[in-house]
Symmetry: C2
């Protein structure tokens, strides 16, 4: 009854007074605090010299030209190795309560240090990366300008990358326009989908500005989730039995762009992903109309992707330590 | 005698009248003819869906954030395969008399079709790429807007990529400023290096706006060039014995950025590259001062790299043919 009243209020246009109570809030546009730090972080984000091979950058698996992901089930890294888990989008990642699917990094800064050293990702080491960057005069200057004297260290490298990533938000989605009072921003089907999303219980985990990303939940609350993926989620961090198969609830912002879905990237079709979640998390079998409505709502969460001017990376001087010299290649 | 007169004219400032006779000409800024086509080509250049894996784009080996190359001896492609030859820069590639080291593609359009299907590069097929792009509504619209009706075909795909690549020029290098009459643009050492570059004969092959790229020459005219690289150069195109080890003379524009050098990417140090060339092409052993001067001159050929706004790639609809579904991964 309450929800019917709510819906009729929405449809009749008397909706402004209830917006403050919506369980989803708008994504705010990025505030650029230290522009020089953000610019430095952008260079590092795009710089393949952070990898052992010299060809993999943060942007390789978090492609800012597309979805902030690589749109693969699991990433391909150094030596064409298969990553252990689906690469999450870097868009709006500053809203995550912690980073990685298992939340093992407290924040973006801590996260940024991980892939650099992961054998199946960039396969380098913090020492090598610092040595490489320190050999590039323009980086020396930029780090000094941002962090003062003391040279380059991995703490500054990851801090700058995190500062850049914090700017990667996607405001002004249709849903946000609607939240801000534009009653024409959503169609009747999209509104119906949002209503269903709330009524059947998706909203219990997918709420807040990121429509998720603010809690951990078991994958398979009602029915077990069958997967070939070996990750045990939070258990790897806490070693508590109850945390087996518990993962950070992913954001649904820009979900239309970030297929394939789930921590194993097993599902490409958004409607199928919705149906699976309803079944294993809520014990509900959706009608075709319900899942179609929810998908229509989810697509209203696609925001404005940041417009990125490709950085011009500082050239490597002749004398620098070159990651590329150590590259190991597959046999011909 | 003539060159001494020439140098004194330069130094004395009476140089404008002789500039027209310089064997190197300026790089002109890009003229954008069909802006919609260029923008479409930019999307395609950055789109990893042109590859079988879904992670390799033109930009992977021709990185516009750095040098238009991957700064590796030879590229790493699909399955971490080693490419057969050093990836040449895409900057100013429109000045090349033909494309690839062996000139087997007449122009940028013909070139663009090659890496898409090469097993050690993107490992896809023209049919799959066209099918993939045709499954993306926004691409359908953009191709129609640029090329009219008739759908997407590989001819249009490569034409658009070539149109974008034609804009990737690097004007306003210090050397070009000097060519245009700014006598203060070059230092005494840089001018001396240019003079030596001409006197000892480098200029015979490295001339024109691209300072090369307009002829084929044997690698090892005076002394044989020792390399593990198996490419026979133009011989692969013409099957003429005299074309063995004959390659397109590479541009020296932005040479400071594009290490490692030569078709085999064997040399990282620019001074060493200069010394090797003097020895095997001209039979001359340079003094340390001479090679240092020439390097100083070569660094004046670094131009303004194009400022690229990263394209926002059209999302893949749920229903599309997905290259990523066919990805083959290394065993764990």
């Amino acid at each position: 009854m309450k929800s019917n009243l709510f819906l009729s209020l929405l449809v009749s246009g008397f909706s402004l007074s209830v917006f403050a109570q919506e369980p989803i809030q708008v994504i705010e546009p990025a505030k650029i605090g230290n522009a020089a730090k953000v610019e430095l972080g952008k260079k590092l984000f795009f710089d393949p010299r952070l990898s052992k091979s010299g060809i993999i950058s943060c942007n390789s698996c978090h492609n800012l030209a597309s979805s902030g992901t690589d749109n693969l089930p699991t990433s391909i890294g150094h030596g064409w190795a298969e990553g252990p888990i689906n690469s999450p989008t870097v868009f709006n990642a500053s809203y995550n309560l912690a980073q990685f699917w298992d939340g093992r990094a407290a924040d973006l800064k801590e996260q940024a240090g991980g892939p650099i050293v992961a054998e199946v990702e960039m396969a380098s080491s913090h020492d090598i990366v610092v040595k490489t960057l320190a050999g590039i005069p323009q980086y020396q200057q930029e780090f000094s300008a941002v962090y003062g004297k003391g040279g380059i260290d991995i703490d500054k490298v990851t801090d700058a990358i995190a500062a850049f990533e914090t700017t990667l938000v996607t405001p002004n989605s249709d849903f946000d326009l609607w939240l801000k009072g534009d009653n024409k921003a959503l169609s009747a089907q999209q509104l119906r989908g949002y209503q269903t999303f709330k009524e059947i219980g998706c909203i219990a985990c997918h709420n807040g500005p990121a429509v998720g990303a603010n809690s951990y939940q078991k994958m398979g609350v009602v029915k077990p989730y069958v997967t070939k993926n070996k990750s045990l989620g939070r258990y790897g961090v806490t070693a508590r039995d109850g945390d087996k198969h518990v993962f950070k609830v992913p954001t649904l912002r820009n979900i239309e762009l970030t297929a394939p879905y789930f921590h194993d990237g097993a599902v490409w079709d958004l409607a199928e992903a919705v149906n699976v979640m309803a079944e294993i998390q809520l014990g509900k079998t959706l009608t075709a109309q319900q899942s179609s409505d929810i998908v229509a709502f989810l697509k209203t969460l696609t925001g404005e992707r940041p417009q990125i001017v490709l950085p011009l990376l500082p050239p490597s001087p002749d004398t620098m330590f070159k990651a590329g010299e150590e590259v190991e290649l597959a046999e011909e």
